[in-house]
Symmetry: C2
């Protein structure tokens, strides 16, 4: 397996983005987020997504020069039009703005309409936590999963993120509404393996752990069956209503790539406005202790808090390089005009 | 099956609460919420919970006279001490207060520390939606479920609610973090049936749809496996940090009944401050249409939006009476001094 250093990956991705027409300062930020996603083990939305992002720029589905403009200000809630700017830049703006509002009002909520794919949603949870804020955010998407009770796609695989700052390692939950991603199905199938747990229905409507059978039926399973289905519907409707933007059904019709003109919600709160650092530390410490001292499934196995594994992967990948798929890496180098 | 009219049930429950020491006006509200939960099909947290609630009053674990007091006001975020008052009264106060804050600030967030069991969490989502508000709320609880990777309990089955007002029927998601409740396991076992899908691990660590085997192991399954586990942890930590109250680990030690001195979060937003009614109707209508016109799993089967089935049960139970377990009903009548 090839491993690439963080700096080399970021510089290469940045060059690809500049060649695609992005101003240098914006390419720097977008390249950093893509590289950080791969660094943390979220390869699907890091390096692996660079080619598609560049393709969207060329198709005119992303405006590399646009910046968000305020639609309305309700006090602790501000609504912005993202003008199809790069989703990463819009999302960073929105979470940062939410933290500013939170300083004045206790809580800050920023919503974005007409934005584009934010890549790894967790990035904005980590951003809030790094600044010392509790962060909650979600996005709606095009449909790619059947609602519970249906065999045809109708709901989005909308990710939902919750982050809590903690000096020994932030707690970050970053979950999509499907139990497994299509990426996970593909990777598992290519290894001739089964999924750890059933991840969808086959074309006969039988629950299966065979990834190929789910790719064929397109009946990928919402996490928790009816629960993930209902959650996906509410996240979609709320993102749309809180921003005045497109719903999943409307994004499907708009049809400008994955998450083209989607809506996002960002909530920030400063926990130090509510509690002393001592009380915060106590709550986090007793919670992590309670989880960590549970009886593990197998002797010597470990129980992780949300975000812990990303944090470990990060340190490993920073130390020994970020693993890349050779084909993907060659393609990104080609886009950066650094062939061979 | 015995069916009781809404009015008879409410009057009986109210009498039981008054006899337990509640002032008449407070008993009226609590009896209404319990009865509405049974009316909507959530029997476990309606009539079936009356006996335990009265027991908690007698034990001094609920203060029937207490009212919430403001701990701090950060603008759009207000924090209250619930003083172990009846959870229903505290939660109604908090969601109503969140809607008032939202009128001034766009979004309102109210958190409660030191409160008690709110019974059916969905009640406060329906409350917000009935007033025309988007409502989001959650609570932490004592631990009753193993974290992912553990065999012993350590995390709470914290319910999470999202509600959106809609004139033809509100969208209300009301989900606990376990796939099935212990109540569902018991009911299914008593019928000698299997669960629709595996709901936990047996004592050998094998995923099973046998409810009795899960009751024995206590290894009830978080919805979406690791996802529901992580979500439960974040909901707990956020409820505690946003209110300055007890975490699940601390509630376990406090040990004054289910949800004794728990924390809750209530968020409200008026969608009409953001969109016209016409735009709201469009988003809701296109979303419901997309779901409803998906291909159903079996011919003639129906695909429901979150809240739709509660709404249907409500109309049926109002028309023909609310079904009750005869033993439970006899006990509540006894508590109301209406034996025989």
């Amino acid at each position: 397996m090839t491993r690439i250093s963080f700096d080399e990956m970021k510089a290469t991705v940045k060059k690809a983005f500049i060649l695609a027409g992005m101003p240098e300062d914006r390419a720097e930020i977008c390249a950093r987020i893509h590289t950080e996603s791969s660094r943390d083990g979220v390869y699907s939305h890091g390096l692996n997504r660079v080619e598609r992002f560049v393709d969207y720029i060329h198709k005119g589905w992303i405006d590399v020069h646009a910046t968000p403009t305020l639609d309305s200000n309700l006090g602790a809630l501000e609504i912005y039009n993202g003008h199809m700017a790069p989703g990463i830049l819009n999302a960073i703006f929105a979470m940062n703005r939410a933290t500013e509002i939170a300083e004045k009002n206790g809580v800050g909520l920023v919503s974005l309409n007409n934005t584009t794919h934010w890549m790894r949603g967790g990035a904005y949870g980590w951003l809030a936590a790094e600044k010392g804020y509790i962060g909650i955010c979600w996005t709606n998407t095009e449909s790619c999963m059947p609602a519970w009770g249906a065999t045809s796609g109708g709901i989005g695989n909308n990710p939902f993120i919750m982050a809590v700052p903690r000096k020994e390692g932030h707690l970050v939950l970053d979950m999509a509404m499907s139990l497994y991603s299509y990426g996970k199905l593909q990777v598992t199938r290519l290894k001739n393996q089964k999924l750890p747990y059933p991840g969808g229905f086959d074309t006969n409507g039988v629950l299966t752990d065979d990834p190929g059978a789910i790719e064929e039926s397109r009946r990928i399973l919402p996490m928790g069956f009816w629960k993930g289905s209902g959650f996906a519907i509410l996240l979609d409707v709320l993102a749309s209503l809180l921003s005045g933007g497109l719903s999943t059904a409307a994004i499907d019709k708009f049809d400008k790539g994955s998450c083209g003109s989607c809506c996002q919600v960002f909530i920030a709160i400063n926990p130090l406005k509510i509690n002393t650092q001592e009380l915060i530390d106590k709550v986090l410490s007793e919670t992590i202790t309670q989880i960590k001292t549970s009886v593990p499934v197998t002797e010597n196995s470990e129980i992780f808090y949300p975000g812990e594994q990303s944090f470990k992967t990060r340190h490993e990948n920073l130390a020994i390089g970020i693993p890349v798929d050779d084909g993907v890496w060659a393609k990104v180098k080609e886009l950066a005009d650094m062939k061979g």
